[in-house]
Subunit: 321 residues, 2 copies
Amino acid sequence: MSRVPKFLALTGGVGGAKLGVGLAEILPPEQLAFLVNTGDDFTHLGLHVSPDLDTLMYALSGESNQETGWGRRQESWRFIETLRELGGESWFNLGDRDLAVHVLRTERLRAGMSLLDVTRALNAALGTRHPIWPMSNEPVPTLVHTAEGPLAFQHYFVRDRCAPAVTGFEFQDVAQAAPPAELLAWLADPELTGIFICPSNPFVSIDPILAVPGVRAALTASAAPVIAVSPIVAGLAIKGPTAKMMAELNMPATALAVAEHYRDLLDCYVIDEQDQGLLEPLREAGFTAIAAPTIMLTLADKVRLAETVCDLALQHHAASM
Amino acid sequence: MSRVPKFLALTGGVGGAKLGVGLAEILPPEQLAFLVNTGDDFTHLGLHVSPDLDTLMYALSGESNQETGWGRRQESWRFIETLRELGGESWFNLGDRDLAVHVLRTERLRAGMSLLDVTRALNAALGTRHPIWPMSNEPVPTLVHTAEGPLAFQHYFVRDRCAPAVTGFEFQDVAQAAPPAELLAWLADPELTGIFICPSNPFVSIDPILAVPGVRAALTASAAPVIAVSPIVAGLAIKGPTAKMMAELNMPATALAVAEHYRDLLDCYVIDEQDQGLLEPLREAGFTAIAAPTIMLTLADKVRLAETVCDLALQHHAASM
């Protein structure tokens, strides 16, 4: 019987989804599953919005909006324009097509369906084929502590455009959350060969996933190597507030500092080729790291980075056997 | 002190709203209030939809969709098209602009605002000026009994296109409903000079209003004459299933049968000029009736019918003093 290596990818928003697209391109659904942050989820205008689940769904189904960098392609904005005219809250932009996802998700959750099952049904309707699991069915809303007081994540991220200086993060109700049974089975599978931490924000995309009771322990217990791709390249985040947050948290905004953040998990680390100079400091700090092209503009870029992390996982896994 | 006559109009959907536009054109907000059927209201896709309240709001604000005959003008359908693609329930067409009203209403109701206050806020945002009162803040969903079993109103009306033969109607939970205090004050006002029953469906637009505890008694107790405009012209309903329902209920589909239906309320009745031949039978049956042009295609038609019913009210009210 031939070996069929399996992989798991932890992902948050747009950056993580790019690597997700590359991985999905080279691995069939039996070999690749996604564990997705839902700490950004919130109820807005009475609708349950799951930004990271949708970002991955749209990316994998070819429905991402390339112009905006978020949301769905071929989008229109009649609903939100009208809502604004009516005096409704319009700081969170909801496209007319995107809205159908939120309305359907909300209706199904209210009818008692789990977030995982809703996610499965939505992805099936859009034709994605890989398992996509929310980190938990229970809400674990991220609270961003800032110099101006605590803010719900989307108030910080969208409404206030990440302007307030962050001082810390709180994953509310996380003690009551549980990871999906599917995840635990996948992690316990002897064929599991690699666990990828996508280049997502460590604090508000990956840490919420790791905070769900049992997840960190299961990742650590797995024989598969954990491989992270740095979201910081040359001191900057490709997208989003990661670098700004690191500065505010008095961390150097470097790929090395991200590795330190993940220290107890990492088996191998991928930094960008522009950060070659960090390979030696990483080695000195005890990390196994390589430098590779990590900027993903084209599908070819995404596939190449996916191949890089898969190869690394196969090598590490073989070496540890 | 000069007399400022006040009027109340009971209305349901599109036909009633046409007369409403005519009345609003000739009477200022201090002199005209609307009492609107909410028996058609339903929760769809988790959203509270109030078709008759919206029909009147769009009509009075010049936002009616003339092409479809319902909904909002300059509408688009990206949301519902996407919902259909995702496998959601799409038999009830929700336009992208219209949806903003439903989302906002639902959010505010869920936050504890009354339907009356939500209606007021939405109408204020759209610039209508006349008081518009839902028949009650409490839901009173109309159940349509049919040969095929009971159907929720919108399932009968929209999904099943009024195809099942009706056998009766039930206004669910109406015993727990109460009319707005504003209505009772308006009805008790000595300046109240006319109560108009607009040319709406008697069974599913007007009867639900009359079924709210206290409404029928307050209308009867008022010194102001009750004047109805027949929704049946030459044996046909201008719009909607009124004539079909009458046939199914073994009533002749005539303006006379509608008068009989309202017998204990009517002080005066307006039939269409095409039904002149019914004036004598109406008189013989004990009704005070006139024939007038009631088909409202243009704004001038609406204003003319509004003037007709106001004149009638003023005459009857003066005669009874």
